[in-house]
Amino acid sequence: MDLADLYRDVIVDHNRSPRNRGRLPAACRHAEGNNPLCGDRLLLDVDLDGDQIRNLRFDGSGCAISTASASLMSEAVKGRTRAEAAELFDAVHGMLTGAPADVARLGKLAALTGVAQFPARVKCASLAWHTLNAALAGDVAPVTTE
């Protein structure tokens, strides 16, 4: 268990200065994610252009891991198609549950690879991605990690 592996510089940086933070009131898709155990709440707005994620922003409150994960995700999926986002989801999910990280595919998202060593924190890192899935699927009910 190595803390430096969890709180890598990229994670700390994205927590201190989250990218794409805020709301997109005119966006076509909105979703809410909750992690009831720690009280994390994530609001996600996604602007789709046909099949492409034109823009997205997130807001809410959460720990460093959930904030950095949402920030990294927002950079990674902006401009991607829904199918590409779904592929990334699978790659992130694999990495968080202990599969060897596919760095070429994950890029900066590979900074979250240390989370797999901290089972209690996997939910924090995956909240943004589950919320994105819900937004893309058009789910109205809030997502929960429980």
């Binding site: 709180y7 720690c38 409150s61 720990c63 460093a64 901290f118 209690a120 924090c124």
Partner: protein, 414 residues
């Protein structure tokens, strides 16, 4: 005289710590610093051995067999009940019902005392600082009966507003349910005063004593309450066993809550008759080993001495409060003048969950989250706090370890 001499003698902490086997283990390469006793306290060897000793030599079902083991198990189980009676100063063992824990005790009162009697428009008064276990059973009862739950506010320090409480006691108030000690804030409520005001108006009273039993002397006759609930695992006993104290006159009038063996005198298809108190409320084979462990925990606490435990824990509280006040950006949540030995806090720019992970990497166990008291979090406008709660085995050096690790976490994350 005895009490004064007892207080003057400090705890022999090295000896106390040696009584708790888990305290000698390492966590993540560091000596364990266990600051989560308010969630569940560790068990001394005396408790562990009592439970194991029962299983090794005396286990059988209680109140049934004529054979030796059954008689021994019954004697141990009922012996534990008598210890509990003395521990809370109840008038009779008929008033001591063994349950799974404080949560089950409160649900029992809601379902057996409240449900048959309460009607639409009746009111149940709780405070804002209650644990979910002293909110949700009343909400369920309200949904079933049409009664209404009313909430006494707390102030910015986490103190319950007594004047507002008096204002809420009206002609439709049937029951008041309040914590003796807040699990999220540490606030100690002057429960005797709250109970007296309710009793003057003929209102029933339920005290959630889960956080009080390990720290304060509990005297149900001095408090004057009708019901008092607590859990063994908060007071150095096993999980899965707790107590409902219930005033005998009320308990005698309450219908059974669960049906089964042990709670009946006779059963026939024309109708059954109910067992005497308190067995009427203990359907099925009880947690005999758990009760034995609770009895051992009570003996252990008595051996150390309530006054000495309280003095030691208050010293830790004062020391921790002063140490943490020196950390920039740290805000204590819950600063009641009369407080149990815990510190709940937020740190600007650092989420409690991250703090919890960093502290765990140093072997320090704290609780992070909403502490099953979401209305308290809402009151203070925070999603979660970090809580370090102290037990009789904690030391000033452990507070120093917490202080140092908090500094490291802030440097790493802020």
């Amino acid at each position: 005289m005895v009490a004064a001499r007892e207080t003057a003698l400090p705890l022999d902490l090295a000896r106390i710590r040696a009584d708790f086997p888990v305290l000698s283990r390492q966590v993540n390469g560091h000596p364990l610093v266990y600051l989560d006793s308010a969630a569940s306290a560790q068990q001394p060897a005396a408790v562990i051995d009592a439970v194991a000793g029962y299983a090794r030599a005396h286990h059988a079902n209680v109140h049934r067999g004529v054979h030796t083991l059954s008689q021994e198990a019954t004697a141990l189980y009922e012996g534990a009940r008598e210890r509990v009676r003395r521990f809370v100063n109840a008038a009779s063992v008929a008033e001591i019902v063994f349950v799974r824990g404080a949560t089950e005790a409160i649900n029992l009162v809601a379902q057996s005392f409240g449900r048959p009697q309460f009607a639409a428009g009746d009111e149940i008064v709780v405070t804002r600082l209650e644990h979910h276990s002293n909110i949700v059973p009343w909400q369920l009862l309200a949904a079933e009966t049409g009664a209404r739950v009313r909430v006494v506010p707390i102030n910015g320090r986490g103190v319950v507003d007594f004047e507002a409480y008096l204002g809420l006691l009206g002609p439709r108030t049937r029951l008041v349910a309040l914590a003796h000690v807040s699990n999220a804030l540490g606030t100690v409520l002057p429960v005797a005063a709250f109970v007296a005001a309710a009793r003057e108006r003929g209102i029933a009273t339920v005290i959630d004593g889960a956080q009080a039993a390990p720290h304060l002397p509990v005297d149900v006759q001095a408090i004057g309450c009708d019901f008092y609930a607590f859990s063994a695992h908060k007071m150095y006993g096993p999980t899965g066993i707790g107590v409902l104290y219930a005033r005998e006159a009320l308990l005698a009038a309450m219908p059974p809550w669960q049906g089964g063996g042990d709670m009946i005198l006779t059963v026939s298809f024309e109708g059954s008759t109910w067992n005497h108190l308190p067995h009427r409320f203990e359907a099925g084979t009880p947690n005999i080993g758990g009760a034995v462990g609770l009895g051992a925990a009570i003996d252990y606490l008595g051996g150390v001495g309530a006054a000495r435990i309280a003095a030691h824990e208050q010293d830790l509280l004062e020391y921790a409060t002063a140490r943490l006040a020196g950390i920039p950006g740290l805000t204590l949540v819950g600063t009641a003048p009369d407080k149990s030995s815990l510190v709940s806090f937020t740190v600007e720019g650092v989420h409690p969950h991250d703090l919890g992970t960093v502290l765990d990497s140093r072997g320090i166990a704290v609780r992070t989250g909403h502490h099953c008291a979401m209305p308290v979090m809402e009151h203070f406008g925070v999603p979660a706090t970090t809580r370090a709660s102290f037990g009789l085995y904690n030391t000033r050096a452990e507070v120093d370890a917490l202080h140092a690790a908090l500094g490291d976490a802030i440097r790493m994350l802020r």
